[in-house]
């Protein structure tokens, strides 16, 4: 038993999971009804469901980001792509059928991701710089599409995507689960996981082994763009409007943090989808907690940063070791 426990603490997912649990418990002190879940006309309501529901766009984007980071890359344009996809859906829906709007919004995400992938793989531009282009230009494009206004949408099906319930649970949760399972499938039932981890770890050796890194890189950035587009649809559907300026602002930072907290290293290689999901849930819980404690909004970022640093430090093995040794040293050396 003890051995299993020990083994579990060595798992990558242990620390983010602990942090998440800690924060959930902390919330119980702030709000005794935190864990309560009510059923009102067959819909589940409660803080937990709420947090879960609101974290879905971040979860989905972080999953896409995980793949990119596994190949030592980064995609800072996800927020802009999110905005573009929402704007596209809204603009098309003004005159056309909703299904067309959804499909085009997703295709736009794919195109954006493919563009990023092209810059990184074929033109070998550094990922940070390559995706910076779309980060900057993307919001401009989104504004062009919306004509500089906040477009509102009035469609029942579309708003169901953001606010509907299915079997008691909010609909976005199902989308999140679907995306997660798809990525698990790609990782465990195709060779993509193996190829991605191997080019992220040693590019030269991977080429010798016959892997074609450019194709994998293209694929990974494209998936990341697609994930951002899906998130964009959920975000805009949730408020039935597309805001080119503010939708998904700074979400790339939260996504990168979620990935790192989840145990995937920025140096590439091994990636952990489950860890990422926990990381994203943690960040959402953290944000919610900070607001509900009533911390001054001006220092919210600082608090967030402190907590994130702490989690990252706890993850670092060498930090844990030196931390543990602090107490020991005096004893063993006498």
């Amino acid at each position: 038993m003890k051995q299993y426990l020990l083994k579990f603490t060595r798992q990558k997912i242990f620390w983010p999971l602990t942090a998440l649990a800690l924060f959930l418990v902390l919330n119980l002190f702030i709000d005794p009804g935190f864990f309560e879940i009510e059923i009102k006309n067959n819909h589940l309501f409660g803080s937990l469901i709420d947090i879960l529901n609101r974290s879905i766009p971040l979860v989905i984007i972080s999953i896409g980001m995980t793949l990119v980071i596994a190949k030592e890359g980064i995609d800072i344009s996800v927020g802009s792509v999110l905005a573009i996809s929402g704007a596209t859906a809204a603009a098309i829906m003004e005159h056309q059928n909703i299904w067309l709007a959804l499909i085009v919004a997703l295709i736009v995400g794919i195109v954006c991701g493919f563009w990023n992938g092209l810059l990184v793989s074929v033109f070998e531009i550094q990922p940070m710089v390559a995706t910076l282009i779309l980060l900057v230009v993307g919001r401009g494009i989104a504004q062009l599409i919306t004509g500089g206004q906040i477009l509102t949408m009035d469609n029942e099906i579309y708003s169901f995507i953001g606010t509907g319930f299915l079997f008691g649970f909010p609909f976005p949760i199902y989308i999140g689960i679907f995306v997660f399972l798809m990525m698990i499938f790609l990782k465990k039932r195709t060779a993509m996981g193996l190829f991605l981890e191997s080019i992220g770890n040693n590019m030269t050796a991977s080429k010798f082994a016959g892997i074609q890194p450019k194709k994998i890189i293209l694929l990974v950035y494209t998936i990341c763009g697609l994930c951002a587009a899906i998130a964009g649809i959920i975000v805009s559907a949730n408020v039935s409007s597309a805001d080119a300026n503010n939708a998904g602002l700074w979400i790339e930072l939260d996504a990168i943090l979620a990935v790192v907290i989840g145990g995937t290293s920025m140096r590439g290689g091994r990636y952990f989808l489950g860890g990422t999901v926990v990381g994203a849930l943690f960040i959402q819980t953290l944000s919610t907690t900070i607001y509900s404690i009533g911390i001054n909004p001006q220092i919210v970022m600082v608090v967030k940063a402190l907590v994130v640093i702490l989690v990252c430090l706890m993850q670092s093995e060498s930090f844990r070791r030196s931390f543990a040794n602090m107490g020991k040293k005096k004893v063993s050396y006498t």
Partner: protein, 510 residues
């Protein structure tokens, strides 16, 4: 009392999850002595060295420095005692300059600031006087070959050590002259009273340079011997734990009649700017063809072109009488051409992945992205090759990073065998591998050839090339200068050809 021993250890044990890397090992090093540690791959040599340098903390045992018990709990504490080491895998910073690499962490300062001029001057001086190499020390490290990088690592260690210098397989990527140079340095350091620990798989080198030899096997201390009182045969028997007959290596070689065998590969006018000049090459089914030549003569370069890692910019290649259009590693693997590269660390192993994943990687690319090999099948393949190549590991799910160098080499070999190649290119397959395994790999080559697999064999050791190959192509300065086979194929004839050189093979198109 003047202590006899500079460094002495008693009962050292080191455990890794699932492995007893060292158990109850004792070791002594005298002042002014060169002491070799010998043992098969995975015997625990590198681990012992890492204990001495504070990289690994031992689980049991004690270490004495000048008969005073010391506590080596970090690389710094070892450095402070004047113990410095060059590890098996060069661990310098690729993108720093040579000078920075030599002085990193102990930069000479002037008024509190790093004195770059001084660093440059001293680095140049150090390399020139100690190792007799003259290079531009302000260039980044990665612009130099592995051999030079190795020399730089040695220079750094020599400069830092003040009592004990440890060299873990420093010679595996050096050529003859460089080894000679290194030995000169080691001898002069020895005169100065330094104690040197040396690890190498080359028996000749060990016998040439060392005063004493300590033998390890399976993490156990077998014994320590005065070099010139220990016959080679006994040394090897001690290492592998069974009787060893040196001559089984040279067992009567049968010259196969391959003229009648079908042509597998033929290349005409094959060339690539900056790596090989135009040449013709032919290989028959079941043939073992060697490429001989000095370092940089184009051996590896030719292999890379045939595999498609480097694209030829001239010439045509036929495989099974079929002209090959686009040449790249993936299509080569699909055609049954496999290439086991020489630089295991950079071109071979994927550090993060497990042994199983490293083994099936080549086969998986052959099958493609979507046809994922089922886990059961992966495990079967991995276990099969672990058994066949006697890879020493507690489990196939170990990270390959935890394997000793020679076993990593075997994993890479397994990766390529698993692809069921018809043409297998082996570039230095036995580098850094112990004698026992070397023999096994040679045997494997014979067996594979018997099954009809064609092998292109590259080795810096001529003796090995002659022992393994049916025919050999001799290269010099990126040119093919001749071919030898049958009775003509001897070490001395190959050497002659390399040394003489003016006559160039007639068959080369001009």
């Amino acid at each position: 009392m003047v202590s006899e021993y500079l460094l002495r250890s008693e009962g050292i044990s080191k455990f890794f999850p699932g492995v007893k890397a060292l158990s109850n090992v004792s070791f002594t090093l005298k002042q002014g002595e060169i002491h070799s540690i010998m043992g098969e791959n995975g015997a625990g040599k590198s681990t012992l060295i890492k204990v001495f340098t504070g990289v690994h903390k031992m689980d049991e045992g004690s270490i004495f420095f000048k008969e005073e018990q010391i506590d080596l709990d970090s690389p710094q504490s070892a450095q402070n005692k004047g113990i410095s080491a060059v590890f098996q895998e060069v661990n310098l910073c690729e993108n720093l300059s040579v000078a920075e690499n030599i002085f990193i962490g102990r930069e000479p300062k002037k008024n509190g600031r790093i004195n770059w001029k001084e660093i440059k001057k001293r680095a140049e001086q150090l390399l020139l006087t100690r190792l007799n190499i003259k290079i531009d020390v302000s260039k980044v490290l990665s612009s130099y070959s592995t051999a030079i990088q190795q020399m730089i690592a040695i220079a750094r260690a020599v400069d830092m050590s003040s009592g004990v210098l440890i060299l873990d397989e420093p010679t595996s990527s050096l050529d003859k002259n460089e080894v000679k140079q290194l030995f000169k340095v080691m001898k002069s350091l020895k005169e100065e009273g330094m104690g040197i620990i040396f690890v190498s798989h080359f028996l000749e080198q060990v016998y040439e340079i060392s005063d004493r030899i300590t033998v390890l096997r399976n993490g156990q201390y077998i014994g320590d011997y005065v070099t010139n009182q220990l016959p080679r045969k006994d040394l090897v028997s001690n290492m592998i734990g069974r009787e060893w007959d040196e001559n089984s290596n040279h067992k009567e070689k049968q010259f196969k009649n391959l003229k009648s065998s079908e042509l597998l590969l033929s290349g005409t006018n094959l060339a690539r700017k900056g790596s090989i000049n135009p040449l013709n090459i032919e290989m028959r089914k079941g043939e073992v063809l060697g490429l001989a030549g000095l370092l940089g003569s184009g051996r590896t370069e030719l292999a890379k072109v045939i595999f498609g890692i480097d694209k030829p910019d001239q010439g045509v290649l036929y495989l099974n009488n079929e002209k090959i259009g686009s040449l790249n590693p993936k299509s080569s693997i699909e055609r049954g051409v496999s290439f086991c590269p020489e630089d295991r660390k950079v071109e071979g192993i994927i550090n993060d992945l497990t042994i199983r994943e490293n083994i099936i990687l080549g086969l998986q690319t052959k099958k493609g992205l979507l046809k994922y090999i089922p886990m059961k099948e992966q495990e079967r393949i991995a276990n099969k090759y672990i058994k066949l190549l006697r890879i020493k590991t507690p489990s196939i799910e170990q990270s390959i990073d935890n394997l000793s160098g020679g076993n990593q080499q075997k994993v890479i070999l397994a990766r390529w065998l698993a692809t069921n190649p018809t043409l297998l290119i082996l570039d230095e397959p036995t580098r850094g591998i112990d004698v026992g395994s070397k023999q096994e790999i040679r045997q494997l080559i014979f067996d594979l050839a018997k099954e009809g697999i064609t092998i292109l064999f590259i080795s810096a050791e001529l003796e090995e090339t002659v022992a393994c190959c049916d025919r050999v192509i001799v290269l010099r300065d990126r040119q093919k200068i001749g071919e030898l086979q049958g009775e003509d194929m001897t070490e001395s004839k190959i050497m002659d050809m390399i040394a003489k050189g003016d006559e160039i093979d007639e068959t080369i198109p001009s």
